[in-house]
C-alpha cells in the first residue's frame, strides 16, 4: 500500500471554524491500516469521581464558549 501523507486541512482551503471536526483537521479514517501514527479518542470518564466528569474528546457543541465543538478541534 502506498503511503499517504495526510495533511491538516489549511485555513485557505476551509475556514478554520468550519469543516469536519477531527484532530488537527486530519482526515477521519475507519481503520489504522497503512498509517504510521493515529489519533484515537477514548471518551471514558467512569474511572473517576463523576462530579467533575472528565474526558470526552467531543466538547459540548451548543455552549457558546465551547462552540469549537470538540476538544480535538481545539487547534
Amino acid at each position: 500500500m502506498e503511503k499517504i501523507f495526510h495533511q491538516p486541512l489549511g485555513g485557505n482551503e476551509m475556514p478554520r471554524f468550519a469543516g469536519i471536526a477531527t484532530m488537527m483537521r486530519l482526515p477521519h479514517l475507519q481503520s489504522a491500516a497503512g498509517l504510521d501514527a493515529a489519533f484515537v479518542g477514548v471518551p471514558l470518564d467512569i474511572g473517576r469521581n463523576p462530579f467533575r466528569a472528565t474526558g470526552n474528546p467531543r466538547r459540548i457543541s451548543d455552549d457558546p464558549p465551547l462552540q469549537h465543538g470538540h476538544w480535538r478541534r481545539a487547534l
Binding site: K3, I4, F5, H6, Q7, P8, G10, G11, R16, T22, M23, M24, R25, L26, P27, H28, L29, Q30, S31, A32, A33, G34, L35, D36, A37, A38, F39, V40, G41, V42, P43, L44, D45, I46, G47, R48, N49, R52, A53, T54, G55, N56, P57, R58, R59, I60, P65, L66, H68, W71, R72, R73, A74, L75
Partner: protein
Amino acid sequence: MIRPYNMATGAAPFDSLSVADIGDVAINTFNLLDAVRIIEEAYDEIVSQNVIPLTLGGDHTITLPILRALHKKHGKIGLVHIDAHADVNDHMFGEKIAHGTTFRRAVEEGLLDCDRVVQIGLRAQGYTAEDFNWSRKQGFRVVQAEECWHKSLAPLMAEVREKVAGGPVYLSFDIDGIDPAWAPGTGTPEIGGLTTIQGIEIIRGCQGLDLIGCDLVEVSPPYDTTGNTSLLGANLLYEMLCVLPGVTHR
C-alpha cells in the same frame, strides 16, 4: 489553529509520517471493566497494524488497557509520566481499576520496565509519604513539582532520556500535571504545577526515545469553560507527534 511545521524544533511530522484521526473507541459507558476490555481490544488492533497511537482521553484509567496492548507486542515498557498524582493507589473505594490505580496495576502485571520509569510533576497532599515512595521503591525516578519550580526542565530531560532509553517508551501526560492557571479544565486540579513551557520542554525532551505511544488524559470539557485546557491538550499532542521516531526535522 494547526499549521503543519513546528517553527521551534523544525519538525515536519505530516511530511514524515502517515497520520490520521481514526475516531473514538466505542466504550461501554455502563461497565468500567468491560470498557477497559474494549479499549485493550481496540489497541490490540491498532498495534497489530504497526501504528503508534496518540490518544485523546478520557480519564487516566485508559492508560492501563493501552499499556496491556502495547506490552503484548513490545515487552516491558519504559514510561515518562507527567501528572500531579502518582496514580499508584492500591484501590479506590475498594476498586482495583480506577483512574488512580493505573500504574500500580501496570507494575503488578509486569507491563513496565520499572528502572526506566520517570514521574514528573507530582505534588499536593497525600495520605502518607508512602504515596510517592511506593513509586521510588519500584525503581521509578520521581520528580516532584517543587524540584521543577522556577527553572527550565531541559537539563532534567537529559537525565530522563538517560534513564528511560534502551527500550520502548510510552509517554502519558495527565493535563493536571500543568498548573490549573493554564489547565483548569480537569477533575483534580492541584496548585503549584508545571508551566505550559515546562510541559513543552518535557515533550520535546523525549525526542530520540523509542516512543511507541502517547496519551493526553483528564481534560474535562465541562470544566474547561474557556476552551484553553483543550487548546493546551491539543497542542501538547501536536508536540508529541513531532517527537515520534521517524519525524523529519528541516
